[in-house]
Each structure stands twice: as structure tokens, then as C-alpha cells.
Subunit: 220 residues, 2 copies
């Protein structure tokens, strides 16, 4: 995997999308694809695809296209998907349950190792065979198991406390769903999913669309 | 709101984060803030903040800082948050339930108008007082109600069909949680939340971190 350190964040951000589309192509029985066809499938330009994949030594042969399975596997390696990761979920509410029930994560190597909730009534209830544990048992669990990723699905104020505890216990990465930016040391990876911000990008686009429609009407 | 058409996507993407941080500051009773203090709070440079907010005519006075409530309100207007939006949720599984239960969305003007699911057993069950309706009732519902945003939380293959139906019924925007890119006409806004891709950004960063730690160890 050459020149990886010089890859821009923009390219990195696109890799999971390549991985997903190549998986869809494999499901459809496509074995080989040109950058032109892949570009149609993904709705980006062919030159963008060639540029992106050149960062990783190309994988393609001129006039011959890409081997779909091989390209997907190599992108998977770059994304670290050739390893397994232990994931715990903090918060067994609807969002936590949705994550625990999402079997696709396990297919790509993200194994749910535990689910924790502060609500004593949930203790011992099972989600896809995994028993919900008390938050009190979290530090001990983290001592015994090498957990890579903790998904935080608890409300904002609780999330900060939970993050502090996870950091103390030496967590490597936090997948944050709480409506706040967590303050953690630089060595801890934080990936946030801010659903409210995603909704606001919709309302922004709705407003812009409405205004441009309004302007067109006025011009008539 | 001057010069809005020239605002880059990067700035637009940052606005929801400003909105959230300014909300946190208001909760803390902060009425006025300098770009320096705001930059510490948000962990971006002060010059970035000044640049970003200058796109919207500034809002700040030299040596006097920003009025937190006013700035938040103006950013809210840019984000279209001075209006209410009707949202429906397709899929009453854990993720759909999580969205329906998230009261924060309503605080920012996104009102849940209906929840739909193809499972007949769920019909009539209530989520936060809202009855789950059959997918068969969706076209009629869309005819009668002006729905702005439809959140799709059903599995990938069903999602494509649902999207087609929504587009036919004249939906303005789709909030897509399915593990695929939806094919819709250009006038339909699509905002996707791809949780798998978010996880892959974590595994990528874990791999890079591990390799750099490994290299440091080898150098010793």
C-alpha cells in the first residue's frame, strides 16, 4: 500500500463509498469494471475515480478495467477491514438497540462484545443474544476485554461522563451519537454522528430551493 | 443575508456546529463571546470563525464580540430553522423509533407527522403518541398532507422502492439511513447517514494509529 501517508482526507472519506459500491457490484455478479462504468454507478467522474485509486497504486490496467473483488479487498485492507474489532454499546435505548441489531457491522468485522445501560430495569435483558450489563460493570469489563470501539448513544450530559470513564480505561476509539463534541485526549479517535446537523443540512437545502423557486416565479 | 450564493459547502457544513455550540453557550448563560473564546469552545481557529461568519455579514463588532443569542438566531435563519417542517418516518424498527423519540428534532422545528411500516403487526401501535400506519396508507397520506422530509430507515432493497414512491408523490427531501445511494431526480434533496461508512472511518484511523505505534516501537 504505497504513499498512504500523503492521501488527503477527502480521498479517505470516499473510500467507504467505493467499498460499498464494489460490494453491490459483486452481489450483481460483476467481476470486472472500467472506470467509466464505475463512475456511472457511483455518480462521480471517471477521472476522479482514476485519481483516487491511483493513490493506492492503481489496481487497474489500461483498457482492461478493475477486478471488482480484488479492488474491494484492497480498499478493505486500507480501511482496516481485514481485522476484527471489539465494539461495546453504551446505552440500550432505541438507538443502541438499532446498532446492536445491525448485523451488517459484524459482516465487516465489527463485533458487538457488550451492551451497557444505567437503567437497572434493562440489566439482563437481551438484544440479539447479548445481555445488557450495568454501567457499574463497565470498568471491570474494559479491564478484562480489549475493547477497540465504544459507541455512545446516551443523552448529551451523560455522554461526557461516559467518555471520561472510557478514556480512563484506555479506549482507542469512540463512536459518538450524543448531541455534543466530546473532549478527549488526542490519542483517542472520535467519530461523531450528529443527526441534528444532518437534518439541518436538509432544512438549509429546502430553504435555498424554496427561495430559488420563489425567485423564478417572481421573474415570470 | 448577503452573498449567500457564494458560500462554499465547507462553510455550510460547519454552520450546524456553530448553531449547536451557540446553543450550549446560551444554556450556560453566556450572552456575548469573542471569536477567541468561541474558537476555544469549538476547537477551531479564531480566524476560521471570523472568516466563516464574515460570509453572513459578520454579526460581530471589533473588540466587542458576538451576541450569542442573536448570532444563533441568524445562523438558524440561514439553516432554515425559522420554519417548521413536516417529517414522516418510513420504518418503525429500532432506528425509526429512535428518530421518533428524539424530541430535540421538534425543538428545532422538525415535526413528526407520521410513521409508516410494512409490518401489519405494528399497525396502530404508538410511538410517542403517534400511531404507526400501514405502508398502503402512505400515498393517500402524502396527497393530503404537505410532507417536507421523509426519513427512510428500512433495509436497503426496500429503501429503493420506498424512495421511488416518495418521489412520485412529490416529496421534497429524503433523509436516507439505508445502506445504499438512492437514485432520485435532481430536484429531490437527499441527505444520507451511512453508519457503516462512519464505522469504517474509525477502523481506518485505528489501523493508521496502530501502524504508527508499531513503527515507533520498531525504531527503538
Amino acid at each position: 500500500m504505497p504513499e498512504q501517508n500523503t492521501i488527503s482526507n477527502a480521498v479517505i472519506k470516499r473510500l467507504p463509498r467505493y467499498y460499498r459500491h464494489l460490494g453491490e457490484l459483486m452481489e450483481q455478479g460483476v467481476e470486472r469494471i472500467s472506470s467509466g462504468e464505475l463512475s456511472k454507478h457511483m455518480n462521480v467522474t471517471a477521472s476522479q475515480i482514476r485519481q483516487d485509486l491511483n493513490h493506492f497504486g492503481g489496481f487497474g490496467q489500461q483498457g482492461y478495467g478493475y477486478n471488482v473483488a480484488f479492488l474491494r479487498q484492497e480498499i478493505g485492507k486500507i480501511l482496516g477491514l481485514d481485522k476484527q474489532y471489539k465494539v461495546i454499546i453504551i446505552g440500550a435505548g432505541n438507538l443502541g438497540r438499532a446498532l446492536a441489531n445491525y448485523t451488517n457491522f459484524e459482516k465487516t468485522g465489527f463485533m458487538i462484545a457488550g451492551i451497557f445501560d444505567s437503567n437497572p430495569e434493562l440489566k439482563g435483558t437481551k438484544i440479539r443474544g447479548i445481555g445488557v450489563q450495568s454501567m457499574k460493570d463497565l470498568p471491570d469489563f474494559l479491564l478484562k476485554q480489549k475493547v477497540d470501539i465504544a459507541a455512545i448513544t446516551v443523552p448529551r450530559d451523560a455522554a461526557r461522563e461516559v467518555a471520561d470513564e472510557l478514556v480512563k480505561s484506555g479506549i482507542s476509539a469512540i463512536w459518538n451519537f450524543a448531541h455534543t463534541d466530546l473532549q478527549v485526549p488526542d490519542h483517542v479517535i472520535v467519530e461523531s454522528v450528529h443527526l441534528s446537523e444532518s437534518l439541518m443540512r436538509i432544512s438549509y437545502n429546502l430553504r435555498v430551493k424554496e427561495e430559488s423557486t420563489g425567485q423564478k416565479k417572481n421573474r415570470k
